[in-house]
Amino acid sequence: MTDESSPALAVRDLAVEYATDRGALMAVNGVSFSVAKGEILGLVGESGCGKTTTAMALLRLVQHPGRIVAGEALIDGGQNIVALDEKQLRSVRWRRIALVPQGALNSLNPVMRVKDQLGDVIQTHEDRRIGGRELRERIEHLFMLVGLPSRVYRLYPHELSGGMKQRVCIAMAIALDPPLVIADEPTSALDVIVQRVVAQTLLSVKQRLGMSLLLIGHDMGLMAQMADRVAVMYAGEIVEIGPTSAVLGNPRHPYTQTLIASVPTMRTRGLPRMGSDESAPDLASRPRGCAFQARCSSVMDVCRSVAPELRAVGENQRAACHLYPDGVA
């Protein structure tokens, strides 16, 4: 079933719907992408764009009133996460696909020592019983990989700094050596220097274990440091995807262009001049055509009737925009 050429993760037409008072709301509206073996794919967008919901769907952690209504997600060309039953899911989570959660600072159990939380993950998901000494060795090996001192073994979460807690979460995610890790804003609550150190840790762990990483975030600057490719989400859809340097350096979709123009840099002073329209997309009443039409400065008639599909706009770069009807190279 495993085959070198199949991607670590292949997502096709994934859709997640939330039931609300105002009717069904498509938080993720037919998203397709893949993560190659050893690759870091960044999934970026602003609040409410569906990036975290996508991640949750891939772990089958979408909670009521949300539900996955369409699509598939194949791990390594094999198991389809969307179709697994609870028992199968238990064998996939942590072992095949693991999560470094958003707000990892609060996701550790405050009344359990670090060693017991890590031990729990390992014991629960390994098929065999693991002895105390072996367990300790494994945990210490994990500490070594993520750069934690061994004294952390006996500590409680409140005794750790933010960066150390984040490393514990990374250690947990890689405890069963999964081929794919999903990291949701793994460094967002950290100060920039600590953020850089933790990002370096994540990169070196990825390198050593040869895993793939789906990196969820809103910080384009961080994506530029870490991701091989990025996918930009808007209103539950991927509007542009391609190599990081191409998407950030030569964005083609008007939304990506807005997003990148709004990122401040330390080399230019002053504010970017941009429209002040801030109407967030209303997911419960999508317009016909393109979801970005109301905010788009290049909007055309066709955008109000036909939803654009992802088309090639460069080498391995695709954008969903009617400005590029035949695709551009």
Binding site: S47, S161, I193, V194, L248, E278
Partner: protein
């Protein structure tokens, strides 16, 4: 009328200590000095990471807490010794905009209520039509239309709109100073510029100065004239924003700026010595950055360095690091 005050705000040697339940003293802010001239209006950034003391500073300036020692002077008057009447005036002339555009609203009242309260408390208008005009003007300054906003409830507005409402409320009082504590950190990047440009416009056309408190050096770089960079409660570098951020001198400032993930520049190499764990290490009375510093010397453990002037800078630029100490140096 007396003479015009020399300065709008002076913070002179302010220290704020907190005591933990175990009796330990924690220095939130240490011997902090800041001056904002009366004119022209300026945006003064106070930047630092979490725990650097920047929000303590906001609370001190707004009078929520009192300094352990030192003095805050507003228009030549010590803020701690204001009479009741003077304090009311101070509260009007120094306004605040906070980080969380969700938490500051009472969810049960329409947006109108925010403005009604301010007008009533500060007796800004004599008639309803006068009040209406004031509110309309304030909303137009922040790019909102009163008929689209006033009858809404907070939950019906986006974060950016709420933050504009808070800016409009502050503007309504025509303050001299607005303390803006992380006003854009919870707002999506594509909307930040529009909020920050309101601050610029208020500075340039209305003569309102800002203390812009932020952890984000790139927005400080975008809009501030002057910057104080804090580390563990003390100023480590101060000067014009261009000087400090484009030619940082303090090892901490350099590391911080080199770690900002920028879209068009990759991090260079790896940083190793800056692990936050060493942050808690005991340095006694020496430089608090010593445990993480890549250029530390024995001298650094002797005493907390004063702010030494950087002579090459055209405007006053000071750095709390012994690398810039000279023979004749005394404090300031």
């Amino acid at each position: 009328m007396t003479d015009a005050p020399r300065t709008l705000l002076e913070i002179n040697g302010v220290t704020k200590l907190y005591r933990t339940p175990h009796g330990q003293e924690v220095v939130a802010l240490q011997d902090f000095n800041l001056m904002i001239p009366d004119k022209p209006a300026r945006i003064v950034a106070v930047a630092g990471e979490s725990g650097s003391g920047k929000s303590t500073l906001a609370s001190l300036v707004l009078g929520f807490i009192k300094p352990t020692s030192g003095e805050i002077i507003f228009r030549d008057r010590s803020v701690e010794r204001l009479t009741r009447g003077q304090r009311a005036i101070y509260r009007r002339h120094v306004q605040a905009v906070f980080q969380d555009p969700y938490g500051v609203f009472n969810p049960f009242y329409r947006i109108r209520h925010v403005f009604d309260l301010a007008i009533r408390n500060f007796k800004l208008a004599r008639s309803r039509s006068e009040a209406r005009n004031l509110v309309e003007e304030a909303l137009s300054v922040v790019g909102l239309r009163s008929e689209e906003i006033l009858d809404r409830y907070p939950y019906q507005l986006s974060g950016g709109q709420r933050q504009r409402v808070m800016m409009a409320r502050a503007y309504l009082l025509h303050p001299d100073l607005i303390v803006a504590d992380e006003p854009v950190s919870m707002i999506d990047a594509s909307l930040r510029a529009s909020i920050l440009s309101i601050m610029e416009r208020m500075r340039d056309t209305d003569g309102i100065s800002f203390i812009y408190i932020t952890h984000d050096l790139s927005t400080a770089h975008q809009i501030s004239d002057e910057i104080y960079l804090l580390y563990q409660g003390a100023t480590v570098e101060h000067g014009s924003t261009v000087d400090v951020l484009e030619n940082p001198t303090h090892p901490y400032a350099r590391a911080l700026i080199a770690s900002i993930p920028e879209i068009d520049r990759r991090w260079e190499g790896e940083i190793t010595g800056l692990n936050e764990e060493s942050q808690q290490a005991e340095t006694g009375s020496g430089c608090c950055f010593y445990p993480r510093c890549e250029q530390r010397m024995d001298r650094c453990l002797s005493a907390q360095p004063a702010l030494f002037s950087i002579l090459s800078a055209s405007e006053p630029h000071r750095s709390a690091c012994y690398l810039y100490e000279r023979e004749e140096d005394g404090e300031r």
